[in-house]
Amino acid sequence: MTEHVDSIRTYTLVLLALLALTAATTLVAFVDLGAFSVVAALAIAVCKMLLVALFFMHVRHSTKLTKLVVLGGLLWLVILLMLTLSDFTTRGWLGVPGR
């Protein structure tokens, strides 16, 4: 793996973007977007995560394997969440208590 050194300018811009997104998510939280409140908050959080991971954690310059590890980890988190929710969201569909 060849070391890739990013410029200070890049890092500074990323920091500014992160701070701007923090301000944005805080302000958006006070606006009534209905169900999209959650979506907006999480979408901004995902953007921030990508910025940190790609630039600060150098995933941008990493091997395919590292990228695979990251994606795999996130996929497993999704499995945990989704399959657990598959129970909690479908309770009551049958209209029989506890089924």
Partner: protein, 314 residues
């Protein structure tokens, strides 16, 4: 010691269904295990090493064979899934005209209540040939209501209701077990299910009657707790009317609806803020700690009695 049986008695409508699926699975299992065991025996003897230096020709595999022995078992497993799931689905949906019994598990006994107010501990008397629906909860740890002869089992979970049902098909006395480990006397938390001929059952019911039916006791409790101050029957109170509520679909404040079943009423008594009826404020205090599980059951039956009875319970 008793005689050695290999299969349990079949005493509910589910029992033959489950056993038939078992026979199918047994047949598949025997077929595959015999196939594998015989092949191994045959190969092990036929191709035993005859000299220290022999070198078999390598065979690296065959895709056709791999696909064959993936697809055939997969097809069989899908039969198993569909068959098993259809039984499960049936076991999950009690018929409307089922006889209602309330079950409360606690360390280490089963408390059972009939609509007429008859209470039993670790014994349940039911008529043969009639669907019985159990609405269950627990006062402490998780328990599990297990009747092997009926092939039914359902956990009783604290804090909510679970449901199971069965139709007994044979008069007799059957084991009731707790199947979910619940502490010291877990193995003694059980008793008997008595399936009786309808006439014997009626006789038992009249003999075992005690102070009032569930609904009557529920009404007393309703008055004691002064629920009627807010829940006025004509809907003029600060809280919704409970008349003809049971079984209806209720509009909720946050949008969405909920079916007014036992679980919903229980939740509304113990955690009234969880689901607020549209048009009303979150003003009802919680009755958690003030009403026992038995009390909740009585209130539910009282509320049921206020509306059109859910198809022929009486």
């Amino acid at each position: 010691m008793g005689s050695l049986r290999l299969f349990p008695e079949q005493a509910s409508t589910f029992a033959p269904d489950v056993d038939h699926l078992l026979y199918f699975l047994l047949a598949v299992a025997v077929f595959f295990s015999l196939g594998i065991f015989c092949s191994i025996f045959y190969f092990a003897i036929r191709y035993r090493r005859r000299s220290a230096n022999e070198l078999p020709r390598p065979i690296h595999g065959g895709m056709a064979l791999e696909i064959l022995w993936s697809v055939i078992p997969f097809g069989l497993t899908m039969v198993m899934f569909t068959w098993g799931a259809s039984i499960y689905f049936n076991e999950s949906r009690p018929p409307d005209n089922a006889l209602d019994i309330y079950v409360v598990g606690k360390q280490w006994m089963w408390k059972l209540e009939h609509l007429g107010g008859q209470r039993e501990i670790n014994e349940l008397h039911i008529p043969v040939g009639r669907a019985v629906r159990l609405t269950m909860t627990s006062e402490d740890a998780i328990h599990s209501f297990f009747v092997p002869a009926f092939r039914t089992k359902q956990d009783a979970v604290p804090g909510r209701y679970t449901t199971t049902w069965f139709t007994p098909t044979k008069v007799g006395k059957y084991h009731l077990f707790c199947a979910e480990y619940c502490g010291t006397n877990h193995s003694r938390m059980g008793g008997w299910i008595y399936v009786m001929a309808p006439r014997d059952y009626e006789a038992w019911l009249s003999g075992g009657a005690s102070g009032g039916s569930l609904a009557e006791n529920g009404q007393k409790l309703f008055d004691e707790l002064a629920c009627g101050n807010c829940h006025k029957p004509d809907g003029s109170g600060r809280c919704p009317s409970l008349t003809e509520l049971f079984g209806k679909t209720v509009q909720l404040a946050g949008g969405g609806t909920v079916k007014a079943d036992e679980g919903y009423i229980r939740e509304s008594i113990l955690q009234p803020q969880a689901k607020i009826v549209a048009g009303y404020g979150p003003i009802m205090p919680t009755f958690q700690g003030l009403v026992t599980e038995e009390g909740v059951v009585q209130l539910i039956e009282y509320i049921k009695s206020l509306g059109p009875p859910p198809a022929a319970t009486h």
